[in-house]
């Protein structure tokens, strides 16, 4: 019995070691490659660089417009997070507290969005018509709209777990709706706020399709598109491409390592409920 246990433990160890390599090697290739010379980088080997070319990063920062991409991505992501948290939480509170027909109808109206796919072509026409094609505003509003079913649903289900008496006590104390929401409910809603903040921020920051259709046509690039266009321009200069990739993944990776528990819990619990 013990021998069998040891055997299965060794097998498990070998399996995990192989799987881990499958995850580590691509990352190692990227990081090592970003410090190599051009002729070394295109060999795509896992050797250490002969000379550490830190200048690759300098070149990418100077020519790759990485920071412009960062700026665009940051503006869009931050705005979407704020808009969807404020409006989404309001709507979530409304649909879960108003237990009448209008509350329920609106809940199902939001949930309906889960089964829908983004209609890129007609959205393009709509933005043209509203004259906000290629603008920050257009992309921000589209992202906010797409995130809405998820945000409203998660807030609604969280608010359901908050005793109604808390609201009523606040109203008896003379709070209007706004004060009640901001000074009484919002502090209680903090966990679901954080979950939504993380999921929205990561999905908007990483999204490629929406800016491709509605933003880059106007020559503005978010960070994933900056990398993509950089890759298109420097297809043979892999040392620069690798450096650009590293620069793109650093902020998200740091955020992930710092907030790992919340990110994983948020992304998977969100999926479970969705």
């Amino acid at each position: 019995m013990n021998k069998r246990k040891l055997k299965s433990k060794i097998l498990l160890f070998i399996m995990l070691a192989i799987v881990s390599l499958v995850y580590i090697l691509p990352i190692a290739l990227m990081v090592l490659g970003s410090f190599k010379t051009q002729s070394e980088a295109v060999r795509f080997t896992l050797t250490l660089p002969e000379n550490w070319m830190f200048s690759n990063y300098k070149h990418v920062v100077e020519t790759g417009k990485i920071f412009e991409g960062y700026f665009n991505s940051f503006v869009i992501t931050a705005s979407v997070v704020v808009l969807s948290l404020v409006f989404g939480s309001f709507a979530g509170i409304y649909v879960s507290r108003r237990n009448d027909r209008s509350g329920r109808a609106m809940y199902y109206y939001f949930i309906f969005g889960f089964t829908m796919t983004v209609q890129t072509v007609s959205t393009f026409a709509l933005l043209q018509f509203l004259n906000i094609y290629g603008s920050y505003l257009g992309v921000i509003l589209i992202f906010t709209a797409i995130r809405m079913p998820f945000t409203v649903m998660t807030f609604a289900s969280f608010v359901k777990g908050v005793p109604k008496e808390i609201d009523e006590a606040a109203v008896i104390d003379g709070c209007g709706p706004i004060r009640m929401i901001f000074s009484v409910l919002m502090p209680i809603l903090k966990p679901i706020m954080i979950t939504n903040l993380i999921i929205t921020a990561i999905s908007v920051w990483n999204n490629f399709m929406i800016p491709l259709y509605f933003f880059s046509g106007a020559g503005k690039l978010t960070i994933p598109q900056t990398v993509y266009s950089f890759y298109g321009l420097y297809a043979r200069d892999w040392q620069y491409v690798f450096a650009a990739l590293v620069l793109t993944v650093i902020p998200v990776t740091l955020l992930y390592l710092g907030l790992q528990k919340q990110i994983v819990a948020g992304m998977t619990s969100g999926a479970v409920k969705g």
Binding site: F44, Y94, R98, D100, M116, T117, T123, Y213, V252, L257
Partner: protein
């Protein structure tokens, strides 16, 4: 008056609370869906942007008789099915391996989940360096004497689709792993203990306790991956852009191509077809799997 106000729920939660959300959601998400359905029945194109005229089901007839479009539907279904099977399988195996805590457990979980927070573009570009003919994968294969397998993975008929499927599965297996870990942790330990007393083997325990009680996790993982797989765009766009030929063309890349050519009516029709397929599949899966769920 005060007591009347207290009982009036409408005053506590006024309707304006939900108006901004409803407005943004309706105008920028639901309205385009309706527009798509309408515009897909017109001869709308880039030269007739503002004055499309009704053309019935002509766009649907055009795309459905287009072999590239039917191939895209088939490819999308292949992609969604294959990635779902791989992600579910790997996710489950990794979850079973990592559900019990041991030293280094957390590091491994962190590592396997890492691709999920990265942009698909980063993963895509990185993997073109790996799957290239002179890429890392072939270098490794040559180093261990398997050079007869080495090929231009993303540029050849057959292997291109398999490569895209593998890369997508590499990215998201860790995500499924965490859903399964949560599901495994919810199974009461006492079930296994009493099964052990009855002399059940490891396989019997897995087959008759773990699997049935994991059905809710399977429902989530499968629904999410199938519908997500049907909507695939970024990874295909970055890795192969539908090529070689139309070997990896999926519905969303087909739509983008029609859009790029200015054939807006056709693009809208193809987007509507995708939406219909996604709704039907999500509905069927939910029906099938929720029937199998057991109460603990």
């Amino acid at each position: 008056m005060f007591s009347k106000k207290k009982n009036n729920i409408k005053n506590h939660y006024p309707t304006w609370l939900t108006i901004p959300a409803i407005l943004i959601y309706t105008v920028f998400f639901i309205l385009p869906v309706i527009m798509s359905i309408v515009l897909s029945t017109t001869d709308w194109n880039i030269t007739r942007l503002t004055e499309p005229s009704f053309s019935g089901i002509k766009n649907y007839a055009i795309i459905l008789s287009n072999s590239i479009f039917t191939k895209s539907i088939l490819n999308t279904l292949i992609f969604a099915t294959a990635t779902t099977i791989l992600k579910t399988l790997f996710g489950l195996i990794l979850a079973l391996a990592l559900v019990k805590s041991f030293r280094g457990n957390n590091i491994l979980r962190t590592l396997y989940y890492l691709p999920c927070v990265l942009s698909i573009v980063v993963v895509g570009v990185l993997f073109t360096a790996i799957m290239d003919y002179d890429g890392m994968l072939n270098n490794i294969l040559r180093a261990v004497g398997l050079d007869f397998i080495a090929t231009n993975w993303l540029g050849k008929y057959g292997t291109a689709m398999a490569s895209v499927i593998s890369i997508e599965s590499w990215m998201w297996s860790g995500f499924c792993m965490f859903i399964f870990i949560a599901g495994l942790q919810a199974i009461p330990q006492s079930f296994y203990e009493s099964a052990a007393i009855d002399g059940a083997s490891t396989w019997q325990k897995f087959r008759h306790i773990t699997l049935p009680l994991l059905v809710p996790s399977f429902t989530v993982v499968i629904t999410l991956n199938i519908t997500g797989g049907m909507k695939v765009f970024d990874i295909v766009y970055v890795l192969t852009n539908g090529g070689p030929g139309f070997d990896t063309q999926v519905l969303n890349t087909y739509t983008y191509r029609a859009f790029g050519l200015g054939l807006l009516g056709e693009a809208a029709a193809s987007a509507v077809v995708l939406a219909i397929i996604v709704v039907i599949i999500a509905f069927i899966i939910n029906r099938k799997l929720t029937n199998r769920e057991v109460e603990i």
